[in-house]
């Protein structure tokens, strides 16, 4: 049976035309559709978006005449854009730090081979499986200043402490990071846990023999070794910060655009106001923002591969 199969496998190349028997040619053939799809649907469309951002297309009628930097000028002068940039900084700082710190702490705890590890792992990872729309709606109710968490605080006797959460006209975005971090920390935990488990036991043992306590162990051995994981977590949470769209679409743009994001601004300009040029400028801007985030990652991946 075994020999029969291998004989048939051997005869497979014989079935192909001569010009296809070369592995490299087969590789090109097999990869070509995805390369073309990626080229068309990602890179050509990126270029297309860039072009629209310098076109006059600001109403439903298609108008691709060249407008120079008109849309860009408008973008950088729009107060809403300035607010969105401030919001992006607030969101990125709050969201990335929470995801990474909480994710790491959870992973470190789980790595101690506690009882019920599988249970806790599932519980922590669960929010990641919940749709952002569902969790956003739930968090919105939790954070409504007149009810939700504030009611709990009031019932505990702190009646004068009534945070405004996402309704805060300046810092509302920070409240939103809690929603985001709740959703994504579990995934970061999974990343770190995988990283921790990949560290050979010998290293830990050697460090312990050398007299390292738990904190020293993490500080001098684990954290440096987990740098690639941290890198991945930064890229993922950073990209999530730039592309945030769901949350303002659920809880609204807040008082004075306090919870508005670039993504929602782009959506509203493009699809509700038919300002395709301006929308494309926002999209291009978001793309440019993500380059410094992704580029070092790509470089390090390529370098690793070469090594």
């Amino acid at each position: 049976m075994q020999s029969e199969l291998s004989a048939r496998a051997k005869s497979l190349p014989a079935l192909l035309p001569k010009w296809l028997r070369d592995d490299r040619k087969i590789a090109i053939l097999v990869l070509a559709p995805s390369i073309i799809a990626v080229a068309v649907f990602i890179y050509i469309f990126m270029g297309w978006t860039l072009y629209i951002s310098v076109s006059n297309w600001d109403r439903p009628t298609l108008d691709l005449s060249f407008a120079g930097l008109k849309n860009w000028q408008r973008l950088v002068n729009d107060p809403r854009f300035h607010i969105d940039l401030r919001n992006l900084v607030l969101f990125a700082v709050g969201y990335m730090s929470q995801c990474i710190v909480i994710g790491f702490l959870l992973a470190a705890l789980l790595n101690e081979r506690i009882r019920g590890e599988v249970f806790f792992r599932t519980v922590f990872l669960m929010p990641f499986a919940v749709s952002a729309v569902v969790s956003g709606t739930a968090w919105r109710w939790l954070q409504v200043p007149s009810a939700g968490i504030n009611l709990l605080i009031a019932n505990m006797g702190f009646e004068n402490f009534r945070p405004l959460w996402y309704m805060h006209p300046k810092l509302g975005m920070l409240a939103i990071t809690i929603m985001g971090a709740w959703q994504f920390s579990g995934f970061v935990m999974a990343l770190y846990l995988a990283g921790l488990r990949a560290i050979p036991d010998e290293l830990r043992e050697a460090a312990v023999i050398d007299g390292a306590g738990t904190i020293a162990l993490y500080r001098h051995v684990f954290i440096p070794m987990l740098r690639p994981v941290t890198f991945t977590a930064i890229v993922l949470t950073g990209a999530g910060s730039i592309g945030n769209f769901e949350i303002p679409s659920i809880i609204g743009t807040g008082p004075g655009f306090a919870t508005d994001t670039l993504g929602f601004y782009m959506f509203e300009q493009t699809f509700r106001s038919s300002r395709y040029g301006l929308g494309a400028a926002v999209a291009t801007f978001m793309l440019v923002l993500s380059i410094p985030l992704v580029l070092p990652y790509l470089i390090s991946v390529l370098r690793e591969e070469r090594e």
């Binding site: 009628t61 007149s146 609204g252 008082p255 509203e268 509700r272």
Partner: protein, 430 residues
């Protein structure tokens, strides 16, 4: 090397062939209609719940009875004022795959956004064939037409400017008559405040704040100024604009303390229930009447003209159009015929809580409020609603600017500056 190139070329051409859009069926002959229509008809609307859905289902029943061979594909996408539906529609239109028919407000919006870009078929033939020129009022015909050709078929008339109030809340504060002007309103509001009742319902509306602004704008303008703001004969630097913004801000001081924290849907739910935050007054279009009826609270609710709105009927007509290259054009025309028909409109409107556009609607089918509205439709000054007067981009901007002022900076002069800019930007008066 040559062979590589050949292989790649073949792959590229295959891939490109695969990317070609599916060829659309050729549009049918203008006057010919299939004797026995079959297939499907895909209709976009934003009616997905409550009285709206009941109305839609009723008119679909009329359609099914008349065209049993056609399957009605109800592609309703919920979301206030069709914000979500319009997004999907825009994507489909741009992609060259329009639905067979879609809901839209009659007026400048549809003309600027769809007719001028050449996306719609003129419906002159349908209006002539169905005798619609005789049964639709002239003001509506003017509003659905562009350069003399009608482009959409209106199915209903909603009145946008009604003040709804809770009788028990008025009673609790010792108020016997609803306020007729804003001075009276603020007196009433103070009385309510003393009784611990929020006078007016409000919510952080985002781009939908243009609705509420419209009430204040119409309180301080005459019809001519109001229309002039949108056709460019009156500039947005007019003092009435600022007056309305100021009035709007002042009125919101009498909303419940948490008005910024709740959505409009929550506010509406509150009105139907008994909370400390339940407002005494809510300003809204008469689509709210459908909600009141579905909650069974008609006995608790009174209605009157919005302060300073006496004799004004701000109307909006939900309409349906025929996009070019509609995949099932004949069925779409069949649908439009039902939309225009007496039995279609009389099936739809009593449930939707609106009045028929046709002047020959069967009055006996409509309830007390709607009969009153039908009377007002005949006697009041008819003013199209903002959504029917100006391009969607301005409607969105107006809402965002007003909302940003109410919820954020609170600076009337700044909001007016932004409105002037937005009007320029949307080509008002060009």
């Amino acid at each position: 090397m040559k062979r590589y190139c050949l292989v790649l070329l073949i792959i590229v051409s295959l891939a490109l062939a695969a990317c070609q859009p599916v060829a659309t069926e050729p549009a049918g002959d203008m006057s010919m209609e299939a004797a026995d229509p079959s297939g499907t008809v895909e209709v976009f609307s934003w009616w997905s719940g409550g009285g709206e859905l009941a109305g839609l289902n009723a008119i679909i029943e009329v359609f099914n009875a008349r065209y049993p061979g056609v399957e009605f594909d109800n592609a309703a996408i919920g979301g206030g004022d069709g914000v979500n539906m319009r997004t999907v529609l825009e994507t489909r239109m741009l992609g060259g795959e329009p639905p067979d028919s879609f809901q839209v407000w009659a007026g400048v919006g549809v003309v600027e956004d769809h007719v001028v870009p050449g996306r719609m078929e003129g419906l002159d033939f349908l209006f002539a064939e169905e005798g619609l020129y005789d049964v639709f009022p002239q003001s509506v015909l003017d509003n659905v037409s562009y350069e003399g050709t009608p482009y959409v078929v209106p199915v209903n008339i909603h009145r946008q400017n009604i003040m709804w109030y809770r009788l028990d809340r008025f009673e609790a504060a010792g108020i016997t008559e609803p306020p007729t002007n804003w001075d009276e309103f603020f007196v009433v509001a103070e009385q309510l405040k003393e009784a611990g009742i929020p006078a007016i319902g409000g919510a952080s509306l985002g781009a939908l704040a243009f609705h509420t602004y419209n009430y204040f704008l119409n309180s301080v303008t005459d019809g001519e100024t109001y229309l002039g703001l949108f056709d460019g004969s009156v500039g947005w630097d007019a003092p009435e604009v600022a007056e309305a913004l100021t009035l709007h801000m002042r009125a919101m001081e009498y909303a419940s303390g948490d008005w910024l924290e709740v959505g409009w849907g929550d506010q509406v739910e509150r009105f139907a229930a008994d909370y400390d935050e339940t407002p005494a007054i809510i300003l809204m279009g008469d689509w709210f009447w459908g909600f009141i009826k579905s909650e069974g609270i008609e006995e608790m609710v009174g209605w009157a003209d919005i302060p300073n709105h006496q004799g004004k009927y701000v109307w909006v007509a939900d309409s349906f159009g025929l996009p070019k290259n509609a995949p099932n054009r004949d069925n779409a025309i069949a649908w439009l015929k039902v939309v225009a028909s007496k039995d279609g409109q009389d099936a739809f409107n009593p449930l939707k809580g609106s009045i028929p556009v046709r002047t020959d609607g069967d009055v006996s089918l409509y309830d007390e409020y709607l009969r009153e509205s039908m009377d007002a439709w005949q006697t009041h000054e008819l003013l199209p609603f903002i959504g029917g007067l100006v391009r969607q981009s301005f409607v969105t901007d107006l809402g965002n600017i007003v909302n940003n002022m109410l919820t954020g900076h609170g600076d009337v002069a700044r909001a007016q500056e932004e409105l002037i800019q937005a009007a320029k930007d949307s080509g008002i008066g060009e």
